[in-house]
Amino acid sequence: MATDYDIVILGAGPAGLTAGIYAARAHRSVLILDTASVGGQTVLTDQVANYPGVATTSGRALSQTMAAQARAFGCTIVPFARVSDVAVTGAEKSVAYRGGERARARAVIVATGGTPRRLGVEGEERFVGRGISFCATCDGEFFTDRPIAVVGGGNSALEEAVSLSRFASRITIVHEFDHFQAEPWIVAEARGNPKIEFLLSQRVLGFAGDGSLAALRSAHRETGEVTETPVEGCFVFIGYVPNSSMLEGQLKLSERGEVVTDGALATSEPGVFAAGDVRQTRVRQITTAVADGTVAALSALDYLNEEGL
C-alpha cells in the first residue's frame, strides 16, 4: 500500500533536514528517508566550530536539533529506512522502503550525501579497526609512540596528520599527486612538523601484517618504484563517493556520479531536485548543504505551485 506525500526527501543530513523544514513550514506533507541514522556525515564530525551562530557544537547535537525542528514543522523522518527502490522519472514518483512500504511523491529532493571513499586495495577491509582508521579523534591515542601513515592530500588529511602528531612517533603522508589540494596554511603547518614525512606521487597497492597492520605498500606513479613503509596505523582521508547509485539511468550524473543540477538545483528530471554533497559542486560543507536544502525546497515548492499540484 502506498502513502502520498507532496515531497519525499531522500537523505536526512543537513541538506535533507533543511529542505524538510522549509517544505513542511509551507504546509506541504513531507517524508524524509535515510538509509542510516539522522545527520548524515555530520554525525561523524566530533566538533563543528564554523557553523555561524553556533559557537561550538558536535555534529550529532547539530543534527538532532535540525531533526527536531523538521519534526516540529510536521516532517515524518524515517532513519534506517532500508530504501529498496527509487523511481523518479515521469509524473508519478515513488520510493519503496522498510521491506514493503511505498511512498508516492509529487516532487523529490535528492539529498543522499556521500560515503567516505575507500582505497579498495588488498588488506584494507581486513585491517579496519586493527590499524586502519577513519577517525583521528576516536582512535588517535591507540597509536601513541607508533609509526603511522595518513593517506590523502586534502584539508582533512593534512589537518588530521597534524592532529595525530600529538600521538604518533612518525607520520608518513602518502598522496597520489606531487602537490596538495589542501589550503596553503595547513600544508605549511604539516611541512613544518618534525614528525611528518611525505611520500608523494604514490599509488597505494595494499596493506600487510600478521593480525595487526605492519606495513603499507605503494608504488611511484611514474617510475613504478615500490616502497614498503612500516606502519602500525593508517588513517584514510581521500574524499567521498556520492550516494547516487539508485538514480543511475534516471537522472543526469557527472563522470564522478554526482547529480547534475542547474542554479535552482533542478535535476534533469522535472520535479526532482538535488541538494548537498550528492550533487555536482565544488564546496561541501555543512553550511553549503544547508543552503542547498533551502534552495531545493523553495524550487520544489515553486514547481508544485506552478504545476497546480
Partner: protein, 116 residues
C-alpha cells in the same frame, strides 16, 4: 555513563548478571564519539524487533570497560567502539570500529537468529 537510550552496564556485577540472565547479548563498549554514535543508533533501532537480544552499552574509559578491553577476542583492536556478541555467556563475535546496520544485523542473524 554514556548518553544513549540503551541500558548501560556500569559494574562487573552488572556485566555478569547481564550475561547470566540473557542468552543473547550485544555490548558496545565506546565513547560518545563519531565512530561509536552510529552503532548506538543501530542498536536502539533494532531493540524493538530483536526482542531475543539484550542490547547494552559500556563506557570504554570507565573501570568497567576493562571487562571488554581485556577479552582475548579484542586483543589487537585499535578502533572504537569495541562491539562484542555473547551467546550463553561465551563470545561468538567481536568487531572493532564503526559498523553499519547491515553489518550488525548480519552478525545478529548468524549467531542469534533473525527476529520472528
Amino acid at each position: 555513563m554514556l548518553a544513549t537510550n540503551l541500558e548501560h552496564i556500569e559494574t562487573e556485577a552488572g556485566f555478569r548478571e547481564t550475561l547470566a540472565s540473557n542468552e543473547n547479548v550485544m555490548i558496545c563498549c565506546g565513547r560518545m564519539g563519531p565512530m561509536c554514535l552510529p552503532v548506538y543508533d543501530v542498536m536502539e533501532t533494532l531493540t524493538p524487533d530483536y526482542t531475543h537480544v539484550a542490547f547494552r552499552d559500556m563506557a570504554f574509559d570507565e573501570p568497567i570497560g576493562r571487562v571488554i578491553r581485556s577479552l582475548p577476542e579484542t586483543a589487537g583492536f585499535m578502533g572504537l567502539p569495541y562491539t562484542v556478541y555473547f551467546k550463553n555467556g561465551e563470545v561468538v563475535a567481536a568487531t572493532s570500529s564503526i559498523q553499519s546496520m547491515e553489518q550488525v544485523t548480519a552478525i545478529l542473524d548468524q549467531h542469534f537468529g533473525a527476529p520472528a
